[in-house]
Every structure is written in C-alpha cells, then in structure tokens.
Amino acid sequence: MSVQVAHSQHPDPYAAADELRTTLGELKPVLVLFFASSSYGPDGISAAMKNAFPDSTVIGCSTAGEIISGSMLNNSVVAMAMDTDTIQNVHADTISLKSPDFADDTLSRLAEAAGSTPISLDPTRYVGLILFDGLSGAEESIMERIGDLTNIQVIGGSAGDDLAFSATYVYLNGKAYTNTAVFALIEPKKKFDIIKTQSFCSLGKKLTPTKVDAASRKVIEFNGKPAAVAYAEAIGVPYSDAASHFMKNPVGLMADDEPFVRSPQRVEGDAIYFYCQVREGVDLDLLSSTDIIADTQKMLEEKNKETPIEALINFNCILRTLQLKQEGKDAAYGKIFSNIPTIGFSTYGEEYIGHINQTATMLAFLK
C-alpha cells in the first residue's frame, strides 16, 4: 500500500475531504499532506481534512494551483497519504513568524520528540518539510535560523492564494494559521532525495548589488548604477523594456554552478523589487530561461535511473506555472509526473537551504 494520492474538485470542503478519504480506501496513513485552492475557506478545509483523517498527522496549505500525478489543477484539493511502509515517524508543529527565535523552540521540541537535538539529527535519516504563510516575507530569516540549528535538509514552499495576494494559510491538524509556518520532522522508512530544478543557464554577466534594502527585498543599485539601468544594460534592452524580461531573465546566486534564483518583481523609481532577499556585495549571475518541460523530464529520468522514485512532493514556483500556461505547456508539465504518485502546488516561493524563486523543489521518497 504505502503511498497513495487523490484529488477532489468538490466545492464543499467536507464533501471534498470525504471524496479523498474514499479514494484513498483502506490505507491507514500516519501522514496526510494536502494542498488546497484558496477557493476553500481556510478553517473549513483544515477542519474537514482532520475530520476525514482523525488518526493521522494532517498538514497542508493554500495554493495558487495544485498538482497531482498527470495534471495541473485549479479549484481543487490534492492529497498524499503515507502509511508506515513509507513514513517511520513524523512530528509536526507550528513556528510563529514574528521572530526567527521561534524556530529554536519548535525545532528543539520536535527533535526531542525524536529523542535528539536539532544539531544531532542525522541528515541521512530525517528530512524537514516546511510550509510558510506565503505573504509573511519571513522565509529568509526563518530558513537561515533553521539552517543554523540543524544539518538536516529542509524543503518546502510558501502558500499561495490563487494570485489574489490577500491572505495565505498553513494548516496543521484541523487548524488554519497565518503569519506561521508548519514544520514537519519526517523520518522516512526508506531512502529519500531532494530535487531542486530550475530551467536557467548563466549568461556569464555579473550584477553585483552595491546598495540594497534587504528587509524590503529591494535592490537600489547594481554595479554602482541605478538597479533598473544596470539590469537593462546587462540584458541589452532599452530601460523601458527591462521589466518585460524579468520572467525569462532573472538573476542567480551561483553555488557550485547551481543557481539559487532571485526573481525580479517590479521596477519602482530606478530600484528593482525582488521576490526574495538579495544581499549587498554578493555577485549575481544574469540568467536566461531554458525549456522547463525538457529539463524537468531529463532530471526525473536521471533520478529514476539512480533509484526508482516511489512518491514525489513538488513545490513548483507560481512564476514557472505562469510561464508554462503562457507557453501552453501546463498539461505537458502535469504529464511528466503521470507515472509517479505526486502531489504539489504552485507556490509563492520555494524552500531549500534558503528561500528561492522560479524553481521546483521536490521531496522524493525512494523505493
């Protein structure tokens, strides 16, 4: 049995949860993970999911679109249920996003429940899964603090609200939260892997932020020039066209040739606001987009060859989803995951080591 996925497009949260429960049949999950459209009221969907799976740890969040094996969906709820064949143990709790210090308490409690301390948790045995209120702007500071506290890998995404940018929610055991993250310390039964994929290559041009307001995710100057002017020059387009290149030409922090993408959001004055923090003095590479479908397919085929994947949780950036829809490739993207039990959602930011953009971070449970 092990892992099963299901989805429902019933508009009533209790009917949707019941449909999921019925589809998932006799499985007795220790962990149920769900991602629900913001068309569902937060209190209703969280309560309904816990009601349907009273004996499981039930974790979820609101989305900007859902992913299930074979399809990208909207106005739905998708769920993955895992029993003891897949998950040995799971301990979950909330982290208040008012201060990074709240991560200390939560991680200590969860590690203690696993008979350990955060720094002593074995990275080959445990993985952290985190879901953020996607409008909190707190992802960087919390992820950095978690990275200070532990060596386990932490992966996740920022909740969405179908591009309303009004309110996003995380869910734990029947309750709905804002300005909060849900953190699950998971001990898989078998091996697991983290997949990080972004479809960009470096253009070999550097933009160094020389004046930033990190807290507001604003770059005032690149290379000593007004940020938007320097960006337009680097791309080789008129200043007035700069913003139209943001989606296909973001910038990236390069770690061993692997970009950690920082996506520009808008120009205001001559400054550029980003979807995540940019640090002063740290070089960024100008990137150019490649083919999301081909890149994702190739990466999954390679991973599957190494060790077959039993199930996949996909945190896929909303900007990737928008690009796929613009190019008429969203159906093709969903089909990539047809043969792997998969759920996911379109996020307002992805988490892996830190907070990143225009990336898909995935947790793969291996056979």
């Binding site: 990275p123 960087e140 990275g147 200070d148 060596n151 061993d256 950690f260 640090r279 080591i353 830190g354």
Partner: protein, 68 residues
Amino acid sequence: MAGKIKKLIDSLIEQRSQGNASIATTTRTKLLLKGIDVKKYTEQSDDDPAVINTIIQVANEMGLNLKV
C-alpha cells in the same frame, strides 16, 4: 595582513561539518545565502574587519566558537 578570512571560513566549515563532505557543501551554500561568498576569499585576501565580524557573528549563530 591577509588570509584571516579564508582561515576563519575554513575553520567554520570544518567545525560544522566534522569531515562530512555533504554537510560541508551545504554549509558553503548557507554562507553564500547569508552574504559570504566563500569562493571570493583566498590566502591573499585582505583582513577586512567588517567581513571578519560577519563571519564570527554567523559562527555564533550556528553555535560555533571561532578563534580569531
């Protein structure tokens, strides 16, 4: 004077990773995301006090004690 920054970074990574190559790689990425580009510093890099302070602060946040 030169080279202190590289020594401090190497010591931080060594203390944190305890010889585990995978943790060492992740720690380098954590430092990059915190604004410390490990690749930029060599034995010839000037001992910039601001950068040294930042590394010591990051080490403290990680629960490590670096000898300056």
